[in-house]
């Protein structure tokens, strides 16, 4: 990939987007009949599926029951066919465990767990096609699934991955941009209050650019939240039409 | 044998040291040999006719015939009758499970509080501190605690702890603090008014007028573990001066 510029002189990226443009988001809720809540989201070429079960009785280790809150259990896995080379270990390796932990942490902050003490909420996310911004797309998918399941949340959780190339923040990175070597920042935001549920950044970035990058991430997340809002409203309308209200 | 034990009072003994009960070499015709009775305290064990030392430490003596080895230890082993500070970990049915820092959790019945009846349950939450006494504590059974004395009164035992700080020290320091006329407490009294609860399981709880003073008291006690009396006095004096 040498020689391909991540940001051309006219300000166009590899896939023709401008620096602050998000990829096209398409989402559907209520994809599975079996689960309490499910959602499928496509953000550009990255496709992810999220399924929520709960709140239900604690399974497995009874000792981990919390007497005043629900336990959120997340599992992040990538389909073996999701990446260019077939993935040997879809889950159980360090990166997936870390992502699962991050998802858990994000949703513990957003879901109102005090309403369901001594119970468990499961969130399973699977990446079907990975083209950059895996974590962010998973968070968005999981948000829709949790809303579909009817579990009360404080606010939408929207996430976006932004990068920094040539002094410009690029919103919603794709795989080529992520592995291109610049820094990438993944941010999960609760848009209404502007609160950051999770912040993760790799690779070198000078401290002075941090603010600009965070601003760009927050704006991008707010953009994503608008799209998700649209999707939810549309879904609700469809459902209400079906139930004849 | 008592004489050889008497010689060693204040000396450092190591595990494996034996005191044999040798009959006196010369049989005195005038003195009647009296049967000597020695009470072995912690650190001394009887092995047939011998008394064997099993912990390293300094030999101490209490009149008339009680001997024990003063050893240093950090982990507590429950002993009947001792008062300890415990942390409530679970409430299950009629019994609270209390962590005392030993090998297993002790149980504390909810009826073992002053004024508690089946209808009138004590107000105890998970995570509270209790000052309780061991009713049963031997190596074969689960230890049991109670918060009342034999006559049914609380007598200082029970739930406590709001506003103070709990910290851990070694068992040796705790025993020193509980000695009747010990200097550490005397010095501390002169410093600030403060409340102190001493648990024989190595846990101390302190509370003073402000958060800062409480922290100072806690740090002073933690550090007086390994200081000589002189150093401690100088330290207390510096703290007192600094405070004026």
């Amino acid at each position: 990939m040498a020689g391909l510029e991540l940001l051309s002189d006219q300000g166009y990226r590899l896939d023709g987007r401008k620096a602050t443009e998000l990829r096209k988001v398409q989402a559907r809720m209520g994809v599975f009949a079996q689960a309490d809540g499910s959602a499928y989201i496509e953000q550009g070429n990255t496709k992810a599926l999220a399924v929520v079960y709960g709140p239900h009785e604690m399974r497995g280790s009874r000792s981990r029951t919390l007497h005043d809150r629900a336990v959120i259990n997340c599992q992040y896995s990538m389909a073996t066919f999701s990446t260019a080379e077939r993935k040997r270990r879809p889950h159980g390796d360090r990166k997936s465990t870390e992502m699962s932990l991050h998802l858990k942490q994000t949703f513990e902050a957003a879901v109102m767990t005090q309403l369901y003490p001594r119970s468990q909420i499961d969130i399973y996310v699977k990446v079907l096609q990975a083209d950059g911004g895996n974590y962010s797309v998973c968070v968005n998918a999981a948000t829709l699934a949790v809303i579909d399941a009817g579990i009360p949340m404080r606010d939408y959780v929207c996430a976006c991955t932004v990068g920094f190339v040539d002094e410009t923040p690029l919103a919603d990175l794709c795989f080529a941009e992520e592995s291109g070597g610049g820094s990438s920042l993944a941010l999960a935001l609760l848009p209404r209050g502007g609160q950051i549920a999770l912040l993760q950044m790799d690779a070198r970035l000078h401290q002075d650019h941090l603010e600009a990058l965070m601003e760009a991430a927050m704006t991008a997340c707010k953009g994503v939240s608008k799209v998700l809002d649209e999707v939810v409203r549309q879904h609700l309308q469809e459902v209400s039409v079906l139930t004849g209200e | 044998m008592e004489s050889c034990l008497k010689d060693q009072i204040g000396a450092v003994l190591l595990p494996g040291d034996v005191f044999t009960f040798i009959k006196t070499e010369t049989i005195s015709l005038t003195d009647t040999s009296k049967a000597e009775k020695i009470i072995c305290g912690p650190g001394l064990r009887r092995n047939g006719d011998d008394v064997v030392v099993c912990k390293s430490g300094v030999l101490r003596h209490k009149h008339p015939n009680l001997y024990w080895v003063d050893s240093q230890q950090r982990r507590y082993v429950p002993v009947k009758g001792e008062s300890v500070i415990g942390i409530i970990t679970t409430k299950s049915g009629d019994v609270f499970k209390v962590d005392v820092g030993g090998s297993e959790q002790a149980s504390l019945s909810y009826l073992a509080f002053e004024g508690a009846t089946k209808r009138n349950r004590p107000n105890v939450q998970v995570g509270d501190l209790v000052y309780a006494q061991f009713l049963i504590a031997n190596k074969d059974m689960e230890p049991e605690l109670v918060c009342i004395d034999s006559s049914g009164r609380a007598n200082g035992l029970g739930v406590f702890g709001a506003g103070g700080l709990l910290f851990k020290v070694s068992l040796g320091l705790v025993r020193r603090l509980l000695a009747p006329q010990n200097e550490i407490v005397k010095d501390l009294e002169k410093l600030y008014p403060c409340e102190l609860v001493v648990g024989m399981n190595g846990r101390l709880w302190a509370r003073a007028a402000t958060v800062q003073k409480t922290l100072i008291v806690a740090n002073l006690l933690e550090s007086s573990e390994n200081m000589t009396a002189q150093q401690r006095r100088t330290l207390f004096k510096r703290v007192a001066d600094g405070n004026l």
Binding site: Q105, L205, H206, Q207, E215 | L129, L166, N219, T234
Partner: protein
């Protein structure tokens, strides 16, 4: 093994104390504990003491075939072990959440930031490259394992020297250290992790939480930076809600701390190099202080004990400075300087007690010369190099001639 549960009263007290900006051991909110860095006899072995938290890192290397996607770059492998030695809460063998978190953070901090020149590790492109393996073991857990780990890892990497290789045509010979001097790794920059803990929904912030503070905290923010003010990695954990301003403020604090710590590491490395050149004995055994009752000792930190005004506390800090830098440092062992260890206690003052302070402002006349040190915590940073072997036991054990 089960860990002692945290009682409600401890939690309430800690939170109350934090609200009043008081920490258990008397530090200020942005202060680090004492950092002591010592190196072992082998190249690449490093021990770091952060207060009572103790961590050991060991670097080793071997020749392997490179990854197919990167045929002319060496491989870096990181491994962290949480042994039950460190804390009763850790269990051997089971990979807990904390282990994964620490491992990933260490990988991201050191590998993704490209602090080591991996291309220089290539021997034969596509066939043989050096694999550098960093193993970190926790020896004692008293809070803030991440920072100690990152310091240990980068110090060990800077200390490490790999064997020299010679290539003749197709043959690769690895020279032993006797044949040819080993070569140090080329390190571009030193990323150091700084941890910030948040309390009361993000209202209060502490740097370098100790174990009890970690138990009551809401969440943690780890920022890895290097001396050149480049952020290498940021990670928030624990489900706290942050605001942008908080993150920016933390990054500013982190840059200050990182430069101090980097200076410390460089100084420790220099001391070690000097000691080895002069042929003095070096290594972990030398760094353990002799004649101590316990190996764990803590250093004084100034506690503001009075409610006096700022003026008094300034005097306090300079007075505190005096106590520390009274004598010229002696360097019996690499990586640290000691003042009065095992030798006579030349001060006549008693003790070092743990975290109890000496803020007897009025009593001691502050050494005005040391006022150059702006804050008490500055010295603490340099202290490890000029270590005061202070521990309360000192006087008790040294039954030598002079003594106090």
């Amino acid at each position: 093994m089960r860990d002692t549960p945290l009682s409600n009263c401890e939690r309430d007290f800690l939170l109350k104390a934090i609200e009043e900006k008081k920490r258990l051991d008397g530090r200020q909110t942005y202060d680090y504990r004492n950092i002591k860095i010592t190196f072992g006899t082998d190249y690449g072995c490093c021990f770091v003491d952060l207060g009572k938290t103790r961590v050991m890192a060991q670097v080793s290397c071997e020749l392997v075939t490179p990854k197919e996607s990167r045929p002319n770059e060496g491989i870096m492998f990181f491994n962290l072990e949480l042994s039950p030695m460190a804390s009763p809460a850790f269990e051997l063998g089971r990979s807990s959440e904390l282990l994964v978190k620490l491992n990933r953070q260490l990988e991201r901090c050191l590998r993704n930031s490209k602090c080591i020149d991996t291309e220089s590790l290539c021997v034969v492109s596509g066939e043989k490259v050096w694999q550098i393996r960093v193993d970190v073991h926790m020896l004692n857990h008293d809070g803030n394992l991440m920072d100690a780990t990152s310091i240990a890892a980068i110090a060990a990497l800077s200390h490490f020297k790999r064997p020299d290789v010679g290539i003749q045509g197709d043959e690769v010979t690895v020279y032993s250290p006797e044949e040819r001097d080993p070569i140090a790794l080329s390190i571009y920059h030193m990323p150091i992790c700084v941890s910030f803990s948040f309390f009361q929904q993000g209202t209060y912030l502490l740097v370098d939480p100790c174990e009890r503070e970690e138990r009551v905290m809401d969440g943690l923010l780890m920022i890895a930076m290097n001396k050149h003010r480049e952020i290498c990695s940021i990670q928030s954990s624990g489900g706290i809600m942050l605001l942008k301003e908080q993150v920016l403020r933390c990054s500013k604090i982190a840059s200050v701390k990182v430069s101090e710590i980097t200076d410390l590491i460089t100084k420790a490395l220099e001391n070690d190099k000097k000691a080895r050149k002069e042929g003095r004995k070096c290594g972990f055994a030398e760094s353990m202080p002799q004649e101590r009752i316990t190996a764990l000792k803590t250093y004084e930190t100034s506690v503001e004990m009075t409610d006096l005004t700022k003026q008094a506390s300034d005097i306090v800090e300079s007075a505190h400075a005096r106590a520390e830098i009274a004598l010229s440092p002696v360097l019996p062992a690499p990586g640290m300087g000691q003042v009065g260890t095992g030798l006579q206690n030349a001060w006549g003052l008693e003790d070092e007690d743990d975290e109890d302070d000496d803020d007897d402002e009025d009593g001691d006349e502050p050494e005005v010369t040391i006022v150059a040190e702006k804050r008490g915590n500055k010295e603490k940073r340099e202290r490890p190099v000029v270590i005061i072997s202070d521990s309360e036991e000192e006087e008790v054990v040294i039954l030598n001639p002079e003594s106090s």
